[in-house]
Amino acid sequence: MPRPTLLNTGRRRFLIGAGALAATAAIPNALFAYTGGASRLVVVILRGALDGLAAVPPYGDPDYASLHRELAIAAPGSPDGALALNNTFGLHPSLTFLHERFAAGELVVFDAVASPYRDRSHFDGQNVLENGLTKPVGTADGWLNRALAALPRGAGRPGHSAVAISQNVPLILRGEAAVISKSPQVTPDVDEDLLARLADLYSKDDWFSARLSEALQTEKMVDGAAVDTAADSSAMSKESLKAAYPNRVGAVARMASELMRSDGGPEIAVIEASGWDTHANQGGAKGILATRLAGLDQGLKSLADGLGPLWAQSAVLVVTEFGRTAAVNGTRGTDHGTGGCAFLLGGAVRGGQVIADWPGLRRTALLDNRDLKPTLDLRSVFKTVLDEHMHVDANTLAKRVFPDSSGARPLQGLIRA
């Protein structure tokens, strides 16, 4: 059966392509909204603080090599050198898929970027990254859940709209809008009689009742996804997921893409990857961090491959809680810092750009004499993506999704019109 979402998208593009703008305008917006909206958004949270100066080496900065020393990535063209983005910045040599997407105009690289958080605790830093406030406490819900609640949609759109690819829901997606969770672990079917009896047992407990019904809906979605992808020779059945993707990022990415492709599947997904807290023996072009980055890169490729036809209308945000020290520490690693990098990737992205108001790495330019100084607020990126890609209205973004964010002005032109 054709997917209504895709069919409508295709028709819409065709109409625009044919110059029949009047015809497009005549189709009520609600029709698109009812079919689920075209846009898909995946947020990838890198927990532990990725070293932006390794992932996006500023090889053209005169102070880079002397500060980052044995962890620095050499200029493009040298052995194990960076993959060039422009005259100043490159990508870590492990990030081959990202580099290919940059060349294809599907990747925006942000540098010297940070959330409003300015201390150096992972846990508070992740709270601020996810709660959308300027401080680590003050709300129990996440900005993506508040955005989800504000998504324009027609009445009667079936099913849930956001999924966390894990057993439990991370802060960024917690809140009033209902979300589901689904880990990439394979769960063999549970006896239906037991489930029916549990549904009965939970009938007087709202909380358990809601969780069980979400879980059952998710299972249905997964079953649907498995059936759909069975017809697709490149796709895996859900039983073979774990074996085929030993790399965890790959496994969660694949699960995200399968769910998003299923009928009535979520348009928003959150993926988490840890292991970025490289205090010791971080390595340069090879080593611990290089291996992690290669895993991330291949995971993002799995996501793109898995989304298949949906890739054209997808945007993937890759973010971390903060950057790391500009200088190597005493144990061939880096300590907690401030400014770092972020990526925006996808078929819907107007890519091929590096967005960085580069402050430089001179000692006097560093924050607290140690960290890359942030010149761009991550919330500016989030707001722009939610506005241009997910069509959340600007007023809601400024007031409800990101309160106290007037200093974080939206950018422009991150998403293809």
Partner: protein, 440 residues
């Protein structure tokens, strides 16, 4: 209250190796493999050598520790004390998914926490921060003062010589210092600055692990060892106070002061109340526990007494959704069974998403219901409960089990569902998945 006096050893006689032996085993396995690699002239693959050495030397210990932990939780006659051990192990979390910690994670709990869980906080704190698992987890073993003897020697050797190679830069690693302040004592809002973190990191340079070769040889392999030649000499200012102690004593003096601070009392009290009473800790209970901490000079039995005596502890509405660990251990106790081998324990916790000793971060596992209440997580619990029911259905009288394990919390509909179940296995599964068993 008799539960919270004295050390809390494992409730089972398990032949667990001590941390120094396990760590020395790792070093030997690594050396052996390095030698094999050199003799076979294979190149590259250093990471693989280390990985294989870790697996070979560590895996049996990890498995034995995980099994002993579950058996102890199942069989202990001091369940509250055992829960306190788990609380502190999570407060002072190390994570076995970092290679060097894999075989040592359980030893921190057994060697540093169990002896001091009902002692003084300062003794617990010192034992933990000087345990090789913590030193290795937070990378302090080679954190080097820039004016230390080791740094001076290297500087003089390289003076004037340009080898074209990047020189090894000696300096501190601030990981352990930061997490002691943020996660173990003052808490993130405890009033310290980046300068305090840096200074404290200087103060504990030299806190390391014995063993090593050549110039690094020293101490008993695998035990805490103060390496004077890595230590940044001289007095240092931390939180406005100048510490003039020499060597290892300087860091211990800081720990002693940290253990007395009201911020620490408040932070520990908040975490205890969150764990044992409610996700949003009632301020009155936190205040009562913090005051007991300060008044007693961190005497932990008096702190626990204040916790238990808090009326909020007995509020029937303030029940928390169990973590997978709580769920598994309370199931073992309800069924009066103890796991026979490590495989079933490891498979269980992998399924439920809380692989033992792998919180991943030094902050430990999250301790609020929202972190564990995903719909996917619930389905995994259902699956496990049905397997447990099938496994243990013979020899169980479900109605008695329900009465014994739920007591006054049993709801009529749960008792009815258990009575009407299609099999005893299904009855057990329904009981374990009932809202009242899932909360504590």
């Amino acid at each position: 209250m008799s539960q919270i006096k004295g050390p809390v050893p494992l409730a089972v006689n398990s032949p667990l190796a001590p941390s120094d032996q396990i760590f020395a085993g790792l070093m030997n396995a690594r050396d052996e493999r390095q030698k094999m690699k050199q003799s076979s002239a294979a190149d590259g693959a250093d990471a693989k050598v280390v990985f294989n050495a870790i697996r070979e030397a560590y895996q049996p210990h990890y498995r034995a520790q995980v099994l002993a932990r579950a058996q102890s939780a199942a069989l202990t006659t001091r369940p509250f004390a055992e829960r306190l051990v788990h609380f502190w192990a999570n407060h002072f979390a190390v994570s076995a998914d970092k290679g060097v910690v894999y075989g040592l994670a359980g030893t921190l709990e057994n060697e540093a926490i169990r002896p001091h869980v009902a002692g003084r906080f300062i003794d617990l704190l010192t034992a933990v921060e000087q345990h090789p698992a913590m030193i290795a987890f937070l990378d302090n073993q080679y954190s080097v003062g820039k004016d230390s003897m080791a740094a001076a020697r290297v500087a003089s050797r390289f003076r004037g010589a340009d080898t074209g190679q990047p020189k090894r830069q000696f300096g501190i690693n601030e990981n352990l210092a930061r997490e002691i302040l943020e996660l173990h004592t003052l808490g993130v809002n405890g009033g310290y600055s980046q300068a305090d973190v840096t200074s404290f990191a200087q103060i504990i340079t030299g806190w390391s692990i014995g063993g090593g070769k050549g110039r690094l040889a020293g101490g008993v392999p695998g035990r805490f060892y103060f390496r004077d030649n890595l230590h940044e000499p001289g007095p240092k200012v931390f939180l406005g106070k100048t510490y003039t102690e020499q060597g290892q004593r300087q860091g211990e003096a800081v720990l002693a002061d940290l253990a007395r601070r009201p911020e620490t009392a408040n932070f520990i009290a908040t975490k205890l109340v969150r764990h044992f009473i409610a996700d949003d800790p009632p301020p009155a209970a936190v205040d009562r526990v913090a005051r007991a901490f300060l008044k007693s000079g961190g005497d932990l039995p008096q702190v626990y007494a204040a916790l238990i005596e808090s009326p909020e502890s007995w509020d029937a509405n303030a029940r928390k959704f169990k973590t997978p660990e709580d769920f598994v251990f309370s199931t073992l106790r309800a069924l009066n069974v103890s796991p026979a081998g490590p495989e079933e324990v490891i498979r269980t916790f992998d399924l439920l998403g809380q692989r033992q000793y792998t919180p991943g971060s030094p902050a430990g596992w999250p301790d609020t219901s929202k972190s564990w209440d995903g719909s996917d997580a619930l389905m995994h619990r259902v699956l496990w409960a049905s397997r447990v029911g099938a496994k243990y259905e013979s020899g169980v009288e479900p109605a008695d089990l329900a009465a014994a394990s739920l007591g006054a919390y049993a709801r009529p509909e749960t008792l009815t569902a258990v009575r009407r179940a299609a099999s005893s296995g299904q009855a057990v599964a329904l009981l374990l998945m009932s809202p009242e068993f899932q909360r504590r």
